[in-house]
Amino acid sequence: MPARRIIPCLDVKDGRVVKGVQFRDHRDAGDIIEQALRYRDEGADELVFYDIGASPEGRSLDLGWVRRIARVIDIPFTVAGGIRSRDRAAACLDAGADKISINSPALERPALIGEIARDFGSQCVVVGVDSLAVEGDYVVKQYTGSPEATRDAGRRTLDWVREATERGAGEIVLNCMRQDGVRTGYDLAHTRDVVDAVDVPVIASGGAGSPEHFRDAFAEAGVSGALAASVFHDRLIAIPDLKEFLATCGIEMRR
């Protein structure tokens, strides 16, 4: 395993960074470039930018900010939001993104995963999965960028992550919705099940509230990376301190 990755996620709306609680009530969290540079300087291993309004509004993300980020950042970054075609993915990669992440469009048309992987390689295709516990199982939700648009995707989470990787996804970001923004810890058991179900790296998302939550995601759930937003945006956890703590727990960190 490479060093485990600490990945701040920046939700983008109208060109600004925003953060909601359980996918609702978004509030302004700052300028994209300022935030990107701040996290890079603090030692973030990778950044993810989600244009959260893109899929529910039926549009694709804005390439303007992708180009601006590519110009100032020298660590990898992933972009997501309404990427519905191989050509749109190509435009994001050409604009300087290292990976594209697809969620709702992959559920609409799973063949999209393979179309992008075939031309650009699996290593740049991330599939984001919004997973919700329902009656003892976990199911996939779709269009979670807006509460009005959110609906069942009609798939079990474990079935979908297996299918996505068979089609060419090179990484899974597993977002456990009950945990999102409430800082009670990642859903370790479910995340472990996903890690064990696929051969590709899995990134835990949703619920980080303390350094111990990150430790458990790596040590117990076995993820390659842990993604978080509010604890970083609200400066509740500083990345250098977090990496120091995780290293003392025996987890390999790039510092």
């Binding site: 590519a70 020298d74 990898p76 990669l93 300087g96 290292d98 290593q123 899995v202 390659s224 790039r254």
Partner: protein, 193 residues
Amino acid sequence: MTLTIVDLGCGNLGSVAIALERFGVAPLITADAERIAAAERVVLPGVGAAGFAMERIEALSLSETLRSLRQPVLGICLGMQLLFEESEEAAGPCLGIIPGRVRRLDPAPERPVPHMGWSRLAVSDPRIGLSDGDYVYFAHSFACDTGTATRAFADYGREIPAIVVQENVWGAQFHPERSGEAGARFLQAWLDS
């Protein structure tokens, strides 16, 4: 200094070009054989699949041009893999500039594939601008075998050559343009070579 980035139409050329611009270089992105041959330095980048990239090289009639370059050449990620004789990812031969073949990485528990993220290097040549213990960013599912050209490697179940050097031709399996300060030191070393 003239530097061309070979445009195979299947890669992320933007971030490589931007990284080189930070060193005051104005790279020319082109698939034109004459301009590639005439440049003082050549970068062969690439994200994507080896088979598709070799098809593009053949379609653009670039294979002889690329094989006969005598100026400093840098292959990045897939661009490095194309320097070898063959790849499990391509049906036909690759460029064959460096002996050896490129093989698929095998996933194992705690070792997912793609190999994605920051891995530590063991370095055997001070000229490459990197030292033992430096972390650089990888994102790949195939890798060449260790050979006489290997100058640094990462451990991922087997030794993953991270940097190869053979005469005028350098290759980086990782992404120097996305490897922070360590990546910048490597690019500077290549530009100084």
